[in-house]
Symmetry: C2
Subunit: 244 residues, 2 copies
């Protein structure tokens, strides 16, 4: 991919002020990405929660309609018609409810999964590595400090050797964590666009393939309304016809 900024990993050994200032820019960028994607995550989570709630509420409604028959209404004249009508309605609303449930699942898989992964894995990794790098940096600074004080006091060879060993280990550690940290920040630059676009595409594709259209929810069409109206109107018409 051309045009993507990279932190030069080969510079981690020298650890110059220039490298540090470049690191600062990348850290700022990572923080901005993190903030923006956090906002997007929250908005998407609201969509997802609302879709789940819609699915649950629709299911509850159809359940209530099915329970109409079991209600004890002391006055229940021609409740047969009412019951069968509500059963038909319940069937339609049931279908809508499963359409909503399918949409919820699609949103979970195609929208929530990628953005949660990005947030919980990639962005969290950078925060962790930042801390680890900070600790390694502090350790190294401490070791170097001790070494510089040591040379003035001219201690014995054994202590000198220990302190030098300490500087070596801590610098090695700092170099390693810095390389890891740089790699993670570079990876973020490669991933950032896809990580924002993927959940959005997932959301939109779930909407496009939304099963709530007439092709997959065959019952709920204007034609269904007509047929229901006709089937209920027919007895009345035949009564009229027989009267003639």
């Amino acid at each position: 991919m051309p045009g993507i900024d990279k932190l030069p990993i080969e510079e981690t050994f020298e650890d110059s002020p220039q490298t540090r200032s470049l690191l600062g820019v990348f850290e700022e960028d990572a923080a901005a990405i993190s903030k923006y994607s956090q906002q997007l995550f929250q908005a998407m989570h609201r969509i997802y929660d609302a879709q789940n709630e819609l699915s649950a509420a629709t299911h509850l409604t159809s359940k209530l309609l099915k329970e109409y028959e079991k209600q004890r209404f002391p006055l229940c004249c021609d409740d047969e018609v009412m019951s069968s009508t509500l059963q038909q309605f319940a069937k339609v609303i049931d279908e809508l409810s499963s359409c909503h449930a399918v949409l919820s699942t699609q949103l979970a898989d195609a929208m929530m999964f990628p953005i949660t992964q990005f947030k919980e894995r990639d962005l969290k990794e950078i925060l962790t590595l930042k801390e680890v790098f900070q600790i390694a940096s502090d350790d190294h600074d401490m070791a170097v400090n001790r070494y510089s004080r040591l040379s003035k006091r001219r201690d014995n060879e054994k202590v000198k050797g220990e302190v030098m060993e300490d500087v070596y280990t801590s610098r090695k550690k700092q170099h390693q964590t810095m390389m890891h940290y740089f790699t993670a920040l570079n990876t973020l630059q490669y991933k950032k666009k896809m990580s924002l676009l993927e959940p959005l595409l997932g959301y939109m594709q779930a909407q496009v393939h939304q099963p709530m259209t007439s092709s997959t929810c065959p019952t709920l069409t204007p034609a269904w309304f007509l047929s229901t109206a006709t089937s209920h109107a027919r007895p009345a018409t035949s009564t009229l016809a027989s009267k003639k």
Copy 2:
């Protein structure tokens, strides 16, 4: 409408135990209807709230995408492409958001309005009239009691006249409120089916005429995805072609 049970208003004057026991049955039925429609109201309110939340969350998402340009990312290589892509996405999600908003409005008008009216007007009226009738009944019982004690003690004509006047007024009042109460209970019998069916029809019609289908949301179709993919792929192809 044939087959609908009615409380005989002409019996309110006599106020026999039979009438009272029939009233009890109607009151029980009204309580059952009230309970059932309260449950339905709650389920529908959940649907409505979820739909509103979905609309708001979708709007927020599209707003966030539009704000991408204004974000300060220190590293912003070829952000032009990203910005324009997100603008396109924002446009689609904006459309979806207004579709959701239209659906919310439809649910408010065709589902929430009738069921709220039924709950707040018809069912509440019955509760109020029940109380008023209870008070008038108690007043009447008190007046009759006083009258019965009066005849034993043989008071003077003036007091007797007052008490009889009291019995007359309270019986008239009781008769009137009982007629009102009976009328309200009879009206409920006529209204109950329509009041349950109307909001359900409103809900289903809002779903059928849901503007989220491709005819009214022209942007979000599989074809749109293809065209977006093509328009982004084309520059690459032309670059290849020019290289040949």
